[in-house]
């Protein structure tokens, strides 16, 4: 059997800078080849070369041979590249949802691709089946916005499959997925590979790679530093769950908290959630995407005003943010999930961070600046980087700046909403270190995350939320090892991909996806 894709000494340069250099890998039919590496290491650049595609001002070199045709040679993309697109290589971009044309019914696009590539066969139905979607006319008549996020991802997959390519390139398919959805993805991909498709997987999610790939190529700064079977990846250390330690009076209490989207309780999101955090304690909140975690956090932070129930800080009633006193404001701080939106585009990041200390702790300008720079440095963000406007910072850097902004208030309760999603292991470690120190000084933490291992490692008590209700809670050790609720069990089991093969095949019906109800 021959590899369907051969990449030999691929190079990509943009002016002076070298983006990718001397990269070699093969893709075999029926197998998954994974390109792994930190953000910016050249994964996307390498993969797009299979289509002869490159960014503005980027030059390609080396050789890329796809299905016996040379698409890239020493002089860059060849004329054969156009023939490869779709028919041989299908590329799924990082956020497939946005790759669907909002103006066209999904059927129209699928049929169009069918006419283009396989006019005589009925590939659409087949592709939909492979992507686990119904193929009835009603579904085909819907527009992309009438599907849930998970379904949209599968539609993009169906589009790629309609071309019936020999190679499927998947760019970061697991970003933002909860563990159950991620598990579904694994089994979908396995099925496709079994059908003889060659898959190129680009990811920094090592667990996913471990579960799927038969070849792994590790990139770093545009160069291959290691390649071989999955064994080249170090086995992830099992994070030991932290035990319950500190005791004392609860610092923050929420009692039968219910929240809704619209006034007077219409469109409820949360239903009677109780919650208590002690000083120096960390409470972890997990749950599937869209279960209401952020809403709960925003209620506590005083940002979500449409709620009923009681919030107590030190046994004193806690109003919404607008009505909080300076002290109450300082004592509870929130770190945004979508960090980029929470920074003002027009001011340097360090100034925005320092402002907290000025406004909430009355520090002078220079003192505040110094403290901001120090905190950012601890988190691995240099002063030079932080002096830029937010648009020039990477997602990971911005995430840490947002944490610093909240920490500068010296809060008593710190709410962290998925603050490590854009971080690599090193960054995560720096964050955990800072938070542990805060905990030791008596700060209470509310930690929201979908990485169950990390949650278990940081928190003293875990809440599992589903559709706005707490369905299970307890010490992380208990919740992780003896989950009582069915969903918790599935979450835990699904989280273990790459560690140990799942003991039973996951359930793939779309009703398990809380976001899969078609929206109109």
């Amino acid at each position: 059997m021959n590899p369907v894709v051969q990449v030999i000494r691929l190079a990509a340069t943009a002016g002076e800078s070298i983006l990718v250099d001397n990269v070699c890998f093969d893709v075999w039919p029926g197998q998954v080849t994974a390109l792994v590496g930190a953000s910016g290491s050249g994964k996307t650049t390498s993969a797009l070369a299979l289509l002869g595609e490159h960014g503005n001002g980027v030059r390609l070199g080396g050789t890329v041979e796809v299905d016996g045709q040379v698409v890239v040679d020493r002089n860059g993309p060849t004329s054969a590249a156009a023939g490869v697109k779709g028919r041989v290589v299908a590329y799924m971009p990082q956020h497939p949802g946005s790759a669907l044309n909002p103006a066209r019914r999904i059927g129209a696009t699928l049929r169009e691709l069918e006419r283009l590539h396989h006019p005589t066969e009925n590939v659409v139905v087949e592709a939909l089946r492979a992507a686990q979607l119904p193929s009835d006319p009603k579904t085909l008549k819907r527009f992309p916005h009438q599907f849930s996020g998970g379904q949209r991802q599968r539609i993009a997959m169906a589009q790629a499959l309609t071309c019936r390519p020999k190679v499927l390139v998947l760019d970061e398919p697991s970003t933002g997925l909860d563990s159950i959805t991620r598990l579904q993805l694994v089994s979908e991909l396995e099925g496709l590979a079994d059908g003889g498709l060659g898959i190129l997987l680009l990811s920094h999610d090592l667990d996913l790679v471990r579960a799927l790939a038969s070849q792994v190529v590790v990139l770093s700064a545009g160069q291959v530093i290691d390649s071989g079977g999955p064994e080249v990846l170090a086995v992830a250390p099992e994070l030991a769950p932290a035990g319950t330690t500190a005791a004392g009076k609860p610092l923050l209490k929420a009692m039968s908290l219910s929240a809704s989207l619209r006034p007077r309780g219409r469109d409820p999101i949360l239903h009677g959630v109780d919650l208590a955090v002690r000083p120096g304690h960390c409470i972890g909140i997990v749950g599937r995407s869209g279960s209401g975690k952020t809403t709960l956090a925003r209620c506590v932070a005083g940002l979500h005003e449409r709620y009923t129930g009681r919030l107590l800080l030190d046994d004193q009633s806690l109003p919404v943010l607008r009505k909080r006193s300076l002290e109450q404001n300082r004592r509870i701080q929130y770190v945004w999930q979508e960090v980029r939106g929470s920074f003002d585009e027009r001011r340097p990041v360090d100034q925005q961070v320092a402002r907290t200390a000025q406004r909430l702790r009355g520090l002078r300008h220079t003192e505040a600046d110094a403290e901001a720079v120090a905190t950012l440095a601890r988190l691995g963000v240099s002063a030079i980087t932080a002096g830029r406007p937010p648009s020039r910072l990477s997602g990971g850097e911005l995430q840490r700046a947002a944490l610093a902004r909240a920490v500068l208030a010296h809060p008593d309760v710190l709410i962290c909403d998925e603050i490590t999603t854009a971080l690599d292991d090193h960054g995560t470690a720096l964050v955990v270190e800072l938070l542990t120190e805060l905990k030791d000084r008596g700060t209470a933490l509310v930690w929201i995350g979908h990485d169950l291992g990390l949650v278990a490692a940081v928190s003293d008590h875990v809440l599992v939320i589903e559709a706005g209700r707490v369905i299970e809670q307890g010490p992380p050790a208990t919740v992780m090892t003896e989950p009582k609720h069915d969903l918790t069990r599935r979450l835990v089991r699904a989280a273990r991909i790459g560690h140990r093969p799942p003991d039973s095949p996951p359930v793939l019906t779309s009703s398990n996806d809380t976001r899969s109800e078609p929206r109109r």
Binding site: L51, E53, K85, G86, R87, A90, Y91, P93, H95, S98, A99, L100, N101, P102, A103, R104, A108, T109, E112, L113, L116, H117, F143, P144, H145, Q146, A156, Q159, A160, C163
Partner: protein, 312 residues
């Protein structure tokens, strides 16, 4: 969807009712009344006041408005205070010319603007893009009455190629009558529209879904027609709906210069002669048209790109 339509319709009814009151107040604020406007050197003041009584203008304003409003609810727009003829007739007479003019303009402008916009958008900042932008920009910068005066001077009076006025002309016999008026209205509209289409094309071309379609092997022509055009048309359609009012301002100038007996002229005449029922009727028709056009534009946009949010 149905509740949306009902909501829009209810809002529209309220808008129309408030608008009627507003127009009535506006015209009531004007000095003089219709009887006075009929004053000529041969009518004595005593006869004028008798006419005022006959026209019912001596009744309190509120009563007159109530009377008018009640009639409108039954579908009767009343009679003109000046000519004594039914307002509906006046509207029917004047709407035709303006409609022909506007439709003819749109028939020229819309296809051209779409083509130009797409050409410009696909060649962003290229030489062609710059050339078209400069030309349309320059066209749109010339006030319509200046264009009109110059066009008439050159093409009708100097060269004698085209008719300069609708007086004595018959549109059916000589469609050339339309050329100059349309040419005047053409410049600004084509500029506004083509630039919206251009912007739409550029953003659609950069959109992830177009890039993705190209990656899946969709050829360029098909890409432009099926994937780019519908998305690029949305800002254009919205602009078109908004242009209505501006276009009407331009139409007045054109109607005045080419002596076209149209809507805008009738409206201004109505105001000048204090013919309140005529002004009310014309405004009502205009407002209904504006509301319908906006609703249609929203629906079309929603049809083109279904995610467009309907309410605002």
């Amino acid at each position: 969807m149905r509740s949306y339509a009902a909501q829009r319709a209810a809002l529209a009814l309220v808008q129309l009712a408030v608008l009627s009151v507003l127009v009535f107040v506006l015209t009531a604020l004007l000095p003089g009344d219709a009887a006075e406007m009929r004053f000529t050197e041969t009518l004595t003041p005593e006869r004028i006041s008798r006419m005022r009584t006959q026209l019912g203008l001596d009744q309190p304003a509120l009563e007159r408005f109530g009377h008018w409003f009640g009639n409108v609810l039954t579908g009767d727009l009343g009679t003109s205070l000046i000519s004594g003829g039914p307002v509906a007739d006046i509207i029917r007479h004047s709407v035709g010319a303006t409609l022909v003019l506007t439709l003819a303009t749109l028939a020229v402008v819309v296809p051209l603007a779409v083509v130009l916009g797409i050409v410009m958008g696909t060649r962003e900042n290229g030489r062609l893009d710059r050339a078209i932008t400069s030309v349309t920009l320059a066209l749109s910068a010339i006030p319509d009455f200046v264009i009109a005066v110059l066009l008439v001077a050159v093409f009708s009076l100097k060269l004698g190629w085209l008719p300069a006025t609708w007086v004595g002309g018959d549109l059916l016999a000589s469609p050339a009558l339309l050329i100059l008026p349309v040419a005047v209205l053409f410049g600004r509209t084509v500029c506004l529209l083509s630039r919206q289409v251009r912007a739409g094309t550029i953003s659609a071309l950069q959109a992830e879904y177009v890039v993705q379609a190209r990656r899946l092997g969709v050829p360029r022509r098909q890409l432009l027609l099926r994937h780019v055009l519908p998305n690029a048309a949305v800002p254009g359609v919205q602009e078109l709906a908004r242009t209505g009012d501006t276009l009407l301002g331009g139409v007045l100038v054109v109607e005045a210069i080419f002596a076209i007996p149209g809507f805008a002229t009738a409206l201004v005449d109505g105001v000048e002669t204090r013919d309140v029922p005529v002004v009310q009727g014309l405004t009502l028709v205009l407002a209904v048209a504006a509301l319908v056009i906006n609703l249609a534009a929203d629906l079309v946009c929603n049809r083109l790109v279904p995610r467009t949010e309907l309410l605002r």
